[in-house]
């Protein structure tokens, strides 16, 4: 075989190999991230809240254990949830806080804030101990989240039994989702409220637009004053009288039991008590309204 023939063969081999090439990664499902920037309202910073019924309410501390849950639409039209950076951020409402969610399909997205509870003991039912991610909460307040809540999540079955009667119920193995410490004054009367609770409704959706491979900031205000506003009417006046009325023993302190018993006023409802929420249930629902979309600064 001639040297030229050998050269031809080698060239042929090189050419045949060079035509092979594995394609690089294609981005058929572009995704990005949203950072929900939470900013305190003046009331969350401790400024007084003047209610329509004449009370002056001070929120002394409002601490949440929460995460952001964002979703968008994939190119083939399916809803797809993003992946929260942290699922258990413990933070005070008085402090600017960032909740990041990754891997949301590019385009319009909605964000909800959910609440998480700290597992207090191992359970066969899947509630595992959550490592606390404390972002600026005083140690004595943070420790409250490692203890059973003052008011646990509960549900009354039709037969009159309660979910909390079950030994492995979440209420028996988890800590609180939020802590509210406040006091209110009116005409020399002071009412104090210091309660940690487990049941909290997720926030109403907050909307943003996700840019592929980028982080988009979306802003919201933590308006703690909305805890004293009707949960179904965002333009309703701020009221505290129903809380004050719950202090049935007139000791100036709203106990968990008093909150669980007291029913909120419901002008349109029937007189059947079961159709009216307790104050505990009302707070659980009103908490979904404290996150108010805000323009970027």
């Amino acid at each position: 075989m001639s040297t030229r023939a050998v050269a031809c063969l080698v060239t042929l081999a090189v050419l045949s190999s060079s035509s092979s090439c594995v394609p690089s990664t294609a981005d058929a499902d572009p995704r990005g991230a949203i950072a929900l920037q939470l900013r305190p309202s003046p009331a969350a910073l401790g400024e007084p809240i003047m209610t329509s019924d004449g009370w002056t309410v001070h929120v002394d501390a409002f601490v949440l254990q929460a995460f952001a849950n964002a979703s968008g639409e994939t190119p083939d039209g399916a809803d797809s949830f993003g992946k929260p950076a942290q699922t258990d951020v413990l933070f005070p409402a008085s402090r600017p806080t960032e909740l990041v969610t990754y891997a949301i399909p590019a385009g319009p997205a909605s964000i909800q804030i959910g609440f998480s509870i700290h597992g207090l003991k191992p359970s066969l039912h899947g509630v595992q101990a959550i490592r606390q991610n404390n972002q600026g909460v005083a140690p004595e307040l943070a420790e409250r989240f490692n203890q059973p809540p003052d008011i646990a999540f509960d549900y009354e079955f039709p037969d009159g039994t309660h979910l909390s009667d079950e030994p492995d119920a979440v209420s028996n193995i988890g800590g609180p989702a939020f802590l509210l410490i406040a006091h209110a004054e009116k005409a020399g009367r002071t009412i104090k409220l210091d309660v940690s609770m487990q049941d909290a409704f997720p926030s109403d959706p907050i909307y943003g637009t996700v840019v592929a491979n980028a982080l988009t900031n979306v802003y919201a205000t933590i308006a703690v004053e909305n805890l004293f506003r009707d949960e179904d009417d965002k333009s309703a006046p701020l009221l505290f009288e129903d809380f004050a009325a719950a202090d049935t023993n007139h000791d100036g302190v709203l106990s968990p039991k008093e909150l669980q018993v007291a029913r909120e006023p419901c002008p349109g409802c029937s007189d059947v008590l079961a159709q009216r929420m307790t104050l505990v249930q009302a707070i659980s629902r009103r908490i979904s309204n404290i996150f108010v979309p805000a323009p970027s600064p």
């Binding site: 075989m1 040297t3 081999a13 090439c21 594995v22 990664t25």
Partner: protein, 645 residues
Amino acid sequence: MFVFSSPAEAQSEPAQSEPAQSERAADQGGPDEVKIRGTRAKPNASPTEHKIGREEMKVIPGAFGDPYRAIDMLPGVVPTVSGLPYYYVRGAPPSAVGYFIDEIRVPFLFHFALGPGVIQPALVDEVTLHPAAYPGRYGRYAGAIVAGKTREPPTTLSGEGQLRIYDAGLYVESPFANGRATAGVGGRFSYTAALLSLVTPDTTLAYRDYNARVSYDLSDRWRLSALAIGSYDYAAETRRDPPPEHEEVFFASEFHRLDLRLDRQGENGATTRIATTFGLDRSRLEGSRFAQDFLFGARARHGAPLHRDVDIEVGLDTTIDHISGDLPSLYAVGQQELENTKAFFEPRTDTATGAWVSGSWHPSRGFELTATARADVFTSKGEVGVGPSPRVSMRVPLPTRGGPKIVFLGALGIAPQPPAFAIPIPAVGYSGLPGGIGFGYQKSAGAEIELPWKFTARAVGFHHSYFNLRDFSRTSSDIDLERPVPVPSSPTQAYGAELFVHRKLTEKVGAFLSYTLSRSEIGATETTPKRISPFDRTHVLQIGGAVYLGAGFRTSARFLTYRGWPDQGSDPNALVANDRLRPFFRVDARIEKRWQWQTGYIALVLEALNASASKEVVKRICDPDCRDETIGPIVAPSLGVEGVL
């Protein structure tokens, strides 16, 4: 005229591990000058290995003439799924079985799924399965080694080709420069893409490969050579929804190797090799990232007789893998996914360096004791792991007083391995040695007996245990791409007995029986007790034969059966298997008609893997009525023309 290469070689019989080779060196019309080259047993052989020669590979039914696919006829070898060339060997998962060609590590040897081998059969002289205590020059695999060896460069123009329904392959090699040099080139090209486009125009399936070799004899003792091999596979589907139209890649992979060597044959039988390897691997998987590995390797070994009865070999080898990949935007994936992706694709440089000394003592005919001391050092992303690997193996003829020859076989070895992905995929590996070095502890003993009519029988009992290996069975039947850190310790073990009765298939009538009785178990961890491996097959039986019918016709067939998969019910981590799924069996068949042509031949070959079209039951689903979930039938028919020059 007979010319012996060296006195050392002349005194030895054709070694069991390296058969003698004769070549007709003179012109056809002139006086015959026949060179016989023989080599004595050297430490590169392991006394308990299985070796399959070039001619026998071709007639093994269902192997399609592919040298490396032929090993599945051997005992101890269990396919993950029938027909797929990913094997468990004595319980070692596919990631723990190393494949080499001329000591060059290659990531895989077969094209996608049922595809043919990536090395041209014409280039391969023999393939050896080392199930335990493999030779010192191999390392970094906790399970078995499958080692191929290329043919000596030819002294005349030679070639071999196949033209089949779905692909064509050719390898041609010729001497030049007055016989001092040779050059060969070949490759395989599939036209599956064109064929598939007639049936399913949106599906693309393509593969091709190339092999090339040049050698130059600098002198009677020194040879410079280069071997290049490469392979490419691509499987994708065109999708129009959602727009825009795009190709969704299921699997794309390629690898390239260029090996440059300098060999020396000493007068006393000594051999020396200094070599460097350059390589490029690329892969892309469905839904995953693009990965790339530029690799460089260097190795040197020197073997020499230390004494009339003792050979010794020392060596050193190192590989450097520069791995990179397309990392996703940190905003486009979750943090855990990002960390997991980094574990595979983060740019890094991995190294592995090993040194060994191996001695072979052969005081009498047929007696061979090989001892090896080897150690490897692995580095990745600042992590360092050390893997000592002592091994000993032996063949000891037993006194039988005129009866049949019986040889005792024994092997003991420790084999370390860095973390490896469950299936060997080019450029996909773990960063930072997560979980540490894995180890295989290999123990086997048995006997080989010569039977009448050129039959041999080998029976071996084995117990292999593995620690820290990544395996399908550890995470049930699901392949968890995103779990880079293995379960701590991850012990698994396999034990059993192998029987191999064999008469060469190249004889006028050849036959084999291969049977493995074994059990594979996944060991206990802190949270789970011991349980059976999903890939435990308990019984694997093959019976095959080949017959020369005359007039150029040769036919061969093989019957394979193995016990069904463990039925683990709805819980993949079930501690006790409910039962066994249905056993699997298949029949492979091959028939060829040869026409002699000059010094070679042309053959028409009809062959089928799983001619019985059997389905393999892989799962039983009960909701609440039970039904079996099957794979297949995986049938691979082949009609082709084979030519040898």
